[in-house]
Symmetry: C2
Subunit: 189 residues, 2 copies
Amino acid sequence: MKTLSRKDEIISVAAHLFNEKGYKAVSMRDIATAMDIKAASLYNHISGKQEILSEIILKVAEEFTVGMEKVVSENSSAIKKVEKVIELHIDITVNHSEALAALNNDWMHLEDEDLKAFVKMREDYEENFRSIIKQGIDAGEIKQYHPEVILFSILSTLRTLYLWNQKRGKLDVNILKKDMVSVLIKGIV
Amino acid sequence: MKTLSRKDEIISVAAHLFNEKGYKAVSMRDIATAMDIKAASLYNHISGKQEILSEIILKVAEEFTVGMEKVVSENSSAIKKVEKVIELHIDITVNHSEALAALNNDWMHLEDEDLKAFVKMREDYEENFRSIIKQGIDAGEIKQYHPEVILFSILSTLRTLYLWNQKRGKLDVNILKKDMVSVLIKGIV
DNA sequence: GTCTATACCGCGATAGAC
DNA sequence: GTCTATCGCGGTATAGAC
């Protein structure tokens, strides 16, 4: 456990506030007040509000990218890969719950380069997931529904997991993984 | 097809912009410009920005409330009720896609009375859905997973359906209903 | 019903003292 | 590294002419 640099502290406090009210509704003064300093002092550690947002979003977006690449490169069945993706989301959600709020809701407020980088990562991620599902359907492991319906229903559940995780105080991670994998893959009937 | 009043037009244009950038990132000037008038002119039709937001959100929230009450009062199996809830979400999504963006992302910017009313409606809605699922488990119609996991995975898919509906140009509603019901209830394997 | 003009405020950001 | 003071901008909203 290393201590947070002042910059990391700003990012952490900002992520918490962005999670509650959204990027645009949180002012530099709000962030400073929460740290018991003045807004002007923030600028000794970060270049501006934009930098805070991109640090929060791109850092966790890269975790998804790396995790997905690892899953894709594995030598296992499609269903096993889907399970791994579900577990990847759960692990990241547990560790970066508040950053995921910004990633889901405020990515469109990124600028230029950062926006382009994020959109590309998200598209690649979805494309990788789509391929896994299609392989599963071709191999007869997954039922022949419209692949987009499957992709969407799983992904939207995983993407909003952070909301649910916050609301109902941390359920045990392993129980969550087990039930979530079952519900998403095997259905409820 | 009745003509839109000027007020309805403002609400419609605002919903479109809120959907793209979020409530806080859209100014009264933005809304006015999109209507080819000046910002000051908006105030002859609405009391302020707040009123626009609550008209958008509360109108569609009431549709969910009414629809859910109808489902709950039906005399049918739990699974049949879950199917009806899924269809309710799909119908509302198709008709009010942009309002759902505000409902999902900007509800916290409602004020006082409106905020209270919205939160109550959402809690009641979730509680009704939870009861249906629990009844299904008790009756042996639904597998014995943690009810919250089932509730969450279905609801989060339905709540983000508006995003997907916008991205992949309107798929036929009936095909969507059929596959979505199957995927969510029967799973993918 | 829309306009111009304007009041008033809070925003992000900077300069310079300590 | 934090402060006070301040700049310039853009926000919501109102007043009053047309």
